[in-house]
Amino acid sequence: MENRLRVLRAEREWSQADLAERLGVSRQTINAVETGKYDPSLPLAFQIARLFALRIEDVFYPDGKPEVRP
């Protein structure tokens, strides 16, 4: 699974540590998710999507291209 977490975070000018603090996880977890080494649990994925006010599929998508919405 891939994700747009790094881009979304950069748009808000948050560091990994900032995002980690907002989500209540470690900075290592954010880094592992961003680099695709770790797929977050469904609750964490929802929490991330909610934080960015997006749908979960707008943040995470299967390997390949992100979903294109009309």
Partner: protein, 134 residues
Amino acid sequence: MTPPASGTRRPRLLRSFLIPTAFVLAYFAARAGIESVEPRSTPALLFALLPVPAFAFFIHAYVRNVRGMDELERRIQLEALAFAFPVALLVAFTAGLLHLAGFEGEGDWDLPRLWPLLVLPYFFGLMRSRRRYV
């Protein structure tokens, strides 16, 4: 989702270092005590059981520590233990079988000498798992 432990550094330090240290000290005190008393006596039995409360406290602290971790840290711990537990069993069984097979000399397969081999796989597993995710 459970957020990571929000406790201060001090309790975490206590759980991470002081409690295992207490167990190790209790273990070596027990060994020294056992060697200073009559074998199979009541004092020897008490010395042999001396580390048990300290280890029970260590288990409690470890479980609390894991509960305070975030999901990735928990997965790292799980993978480390999933590797270490079977390896520790393998070491224990193999040592027992070697002992039964007559390959014994000067207490080579005694548990007091083997226990580092039971602990090392956990640290190896932890290192391996951390390298994978972090």
